[in-house]
Symmetry: none
Subunit: 248 residues, 2 copies
């Protein structure tokens, strides 16, 4: 039945055009400006036609959420291949923040608008509630590995740390999107500061491929008062950000 197939294909195509236009409107004018009328105008159809493809404006929004979240997972999932758990966590954090600022309105829609949209994003990405949390599980596992390697205190609860670390990433994105209080600190600088605070600088961050244990020991010994946790931070070789004047 080639005719029905063509029909369904055409129907799918229009559905996609609706979503595409919606994405563009959300990106450009924000979610609150997403109206059925505007979408209809954009695709040059009447508003009534939209209701043949979506039950309501809300369903369109939920679809956008699911798509956006799936896209974010795609940028995070490959980072499971990063060998070092600390670097893996940092890579995830950077990818997460990068996605948020690259797709501000999508991010806002998923995580800052309404809890039901967050649910829609997770549900849309997978039928079972568990697999939607693949990114979470990856973070929990990475933190467990760091604990096992003695790079985090044994008292750390991986699930709790995951939540708190995610909150940090979310906060960085959210502040950028809605609250430009701080003057002009580059985003990467802030992200690096947070990542270092959470997981310390990697020992391997040295350009030298040789063993640099001696240098780390020397650094630690130069600060005998610091505890193990802070000592790891002292080992940071990250170029110190040029001190700026206090925020205005």
């Amino acid at each position: 039945m080639g005719i029905t197939e063509r029909k369904t294909r055409e129907k799918q195509a229009l559905r996609e055009r609706i979503l595409e236009a919606s994405r563009r409107i959300v990106m450009r004018d924000g979610f609150s400006a997403l109206s059925m009328r505007k979408i209809a105008d954009a695709i040059e159809y009447s508003p009534a036609t939209l209701y043949l493809h979506f039950d309501s404006r809300d369903e369109i929004a939920r679809t956008l959420c699911a798509e956006g979240y799936a896209q974010m997972l795609q940028s995070v999932a490959p980072l499971a291949d990063v060998v070092d758990p600390g670097e893996r966590l940092k890579a995830i954090g950077r990818a997460y923040v990068a996605f948020g600022v690259a797709h501000p309105e999508t991010y806002r829609l998923i995580f800052m608008e309404d809890p039901s949209y967050t649910d829609a994003a997770f549900v849309g990405v997978a039928a079972d509630a568990e697999s939607g949390d693949a990114a979470l599980r990856l973070m929990v596992d990475s933190i467990e590995q760091m604990k096992a390697a003695g790079r985090l205190p044994a008292s750390v609860d991986a699930a709790v740390w995951t939540e708190a670390f995610w909150a940090t990433l979310h906060g960085i994105v959210a502040l950028r999107l809605t609250c430009p209080v701080f003057p002009h600190t580059p985003l990467d600088t802030v992200v690096d500061a947070a990542l270092d605070a959470w997981f310390g600088s990697p020992p391997a961050a040295e350009p030298a491929t040789t063993d640099n244990t001696a240098e780390i020991v020397a650094t630690v010994e130069a600060n005998p008062a610091t505890t193990a946790k802070t000592a790891k931070r002292v080992a940071s070789k990250r170029a110190p950000a040029k001190p700026k004047t206090a925020p205005a």
Copy 2:
């Protein structure tokens, strides 16, 4: 002129009733549900009367922002008296989060709705731009003190850390308000995890005051596979951030 005084007093009283009703509506139904009609209904006046006290709905919102922010500063300011800078930062963090979850809609209005409302909060609290950032300055100074005491690496940029730390607090509050993804981790537990990650555990919680250089060395040697090259290459897959501020 007792008569004019009484008049202005009555005018002030009505103004306060308007704000009070607005606060209640924002708290109960959210900011988007704050309309001139609803406010008028709540105080049993006509909508037109509101315009004798406020130019617009937006001015009411901005006033709420300024009031809310001033209230938050009041709960943070006394913490300047905490002697230990680390404990001071933690106390500020706890107070900040506590305010956010105690006044969710106010918090949302100030920090999560629109940048102009954030500005209104800061401007409303003080005429000059500097003093509105008293809380920020307190945090910057505290971090500087920790650096001076050797409890944070000298490479730390206090302004950057303040921004990143604030982002963490903001993220914790924001996730609680709009994104109940994580099941049932108590708020305090998450906050404590974040505070510990940023500023270390208090001396009481870290019984081992002895030198633990050996442990760190062991950690480094336990991960010989993660050389600089591999770790950095894999980790640098992240997409470049394309910042785009959210439209008003």
